[in-house]
């Protein structure tokens, strides 16, 4: 039995189709990532699976329980960390943790060894009000609270949004540690670079899942040659490159433009064609998950 089973799940808010016929499954002990921009339907999916809202159609099971019929059972076996900080800012670190322990009828001592790797880092500040913590510390506290009752499935909705790069990386390390305890983790993020830390990812956009695979599998599905190009006048280059022969697409990507090409593309020919462009640099590059995402989105 899989930890999460989703079959043809749909949900709309008025005229907005937030989730459109989504199906996937997450194995036990898996770290599964939902990758997509804002408005992709990630939060809606989380709210459906944590039984906060009901689906329009389709069905889903979490830890073998139906999200509509057995929602009370689901509520005691999952941990949920919503997208925005949702602890009590006027209570101290310790008071928040104790309250959430009481909410699930456990004590902090019961789960201490599970949360210790995370909680130890904020324990020196245990008398500080949660509202006065830094972004990274808030996130650690929220994760500790979500883990306090030893859930079987952990739902993390954009846990790294608004957190600095170092804390983000630390956070993913913590998730890897938790996985060793056998936890199933469903995590969403708008950052493509974090996707490679997951076992499997689902790329989603506008309520649909575009592709599900391992991060490596996703990248290897990119069947075109990719180049990175750079010059003094980036904007003019973008316009010109798009009209060039053998170029399927060209889009800005960080400090370079990514150039997707087909069989007729010849790099020497390209260099000659663009010889009037100042400081032109062009080199073949490996595709990233974001390249795959852009390709899928344009289809």
């Amino acid at each position: 039995m899989n930890a999460i089973e989703v079959h043809n799940l749909s949900k709309s808010y008025g005229k907005v189709q937030a989730l459109d016929n989504v199906s996937f499954s997450v194995e036990r002990g898996e770290l599964f990532g939902l990758i997509g921009p804002d408005g992709a339907g990630k939060t809606t999916l989380f709210r459906l699976l944590t039984t906060l809202i009901s689906p329009d159609s389709g069905r889903a099971e979490v830890d073998g329980f139906d999200i509509v019929k057995n929602y009370h059972e689901i509520r005691s076996c999952v941990g949920y960390m919503p997208g925005r900080f949702s602890l009590y800012p006027d209570l101290s670190v310790e008071e928040n943790l104790n309250f959430f322990a009481a909410l699930f009828g456990v004590t902090v001592e019961d789960s201490y060894e599970l949360i210790a790797p995370i909680y130890k880092q904020i324990e020196p500040f245990r008398t500080r009000r949660a509202g006065k913590l830094s972004g990274g510390m808030k996130q650690k506290l929220a994760l500790s609270c979500a883990l306090i009752h030893r859930p079987k499935v952990l739902f993390l909705d954009e846990p790294t949004t608004g957190v600095d790069a170092v804390s983000r990386s630390e956070f993913w390390d913590m998730l890897s540690t938790l996985k060793e305890h056998g936890l199933t983790i469903l995590v969403s993020t708008p950052y493509m670079d974090e996707a490679s830390r997951c076992d499997r990812i689902a790329l989603c956009n506008e309520g649909r899942i575009l592709s599900i695979n391992t991060p490596k599998g996703i990248v290897s599905g990119f069947d075109r040659q990719l180049y990175g190009i750079k010059s003094k006048n980036m904007f003019a280059l973008l316009e010109r490159a798009r009209r060039s022969e053998g170029v399927i697409d060209c889009y800005p990507f960080g400090e370079k433009h990514h150039l997707i090409t087909n069989e007729v593309f010849d790099i020497e020919q390209f260099k000659i064609q663009f010889c009037d462009v100042k400081d032109l640099e062009i080199e073949p590059i490996e595709p990233t998950i974001e390249d795959v995402f852009i390709k899928l989105m344009k289809r």
Binding site: R47, R75, Y80, S86, D90, L91
Partner: protein, 364 residues
Amino acid sequence: MKQNFGSFVKKESLHILRDKRTMLVVMLIPVVLMILFGFAISTEVNNVNVAVVAPERTDGVRDAVEKLSQNEYFTFKGYISSDEIDLNLRSGKVGVVVVFASDYDRRVAQVKDGISTKPVIQLVVDASNVNTAGSATAYLQGVLLGSASQQAMFETRMLFNPQMKSAYNFVPGIMGLIFILVCAMMTSVSIVREKEVGTMEVLLVSPVRPVKIIFAKMIPYFVISCIVLVIILLLARYLLGVPMSGGVSGIFSLSLLYLLLSLSLGLLVSTIASTQIAALLVSAMVMMMPILMLSGMLFPIENLPKFFQVVSNIIPARWYIDAVRKMMIQGLPLVAVWKNGVILLGMTVMILAVSLKKFNDKLE
């Protein structure tokens, strides 16, 4: 899961105790309102300046004026002539001018003997403040009628509140208002805050039924309201001198019922509102205004247009204020206001049932 109920109550109390400003406001509002209504805003007659016009200062006239100047609510400003009346009232020097008829003694005697029904005294009143004018006139009439020459005509006795002190009337009204403020408004805001901040999401995704959390939320507010109730009763008794001859136990038990009702109202508001501002506005507009206008707190219900008299029946504060007034001022026991108690109980059960039914353990 008894032990976690305790920790919910503890958590809620911490929220309240840490929000010192709100706490202070809650404790100060009743005191300020009591002092405001008790002393500053009063419709009772106090220090009204009176001038007298009397063509002849006969024994009867002098007798009446004597009575007037001895009365603590009126200040006798002296005799004036009839053409000075307008000037005196206009300048605000006096509030009332008493004009005695010429040949006063003889005409009084005629009235007494039933020969004549012509008025013998005219009151010229500055009615720019309707309330003061009305009660000054009524009280002045009482004083003058009581004068020796007139006593055969009427005898009025003001029961329960002989000096017509308005504080007596306002105390129950303030109680009706303040508990809605503390219980309904504050509980609804604190429940809605959890929705707004997002903690409600986390609370819902837990094995605890949200209703239990909500009840835990109500307890600290209930305790605060009880403290406020004690403060109000103490102020009423010792600062404003309200008699409470019927004892406080009846007032106290009825108030506890009213507190429960207010808490359920707060719960109802929280199921409708989704932001703290909305909860505040709903509490203020839908609950405070009717209480001020239609509960008999400021204006007697009998003076309202028929339509609003009917509407006032569904306002809980009306029944509470009416009952407390009877117990506090008339000194009636709780049994005497059983009808109000039953109505309040019925309303509580109904509001509680509706809001629990409306309360959703999902986000939508």
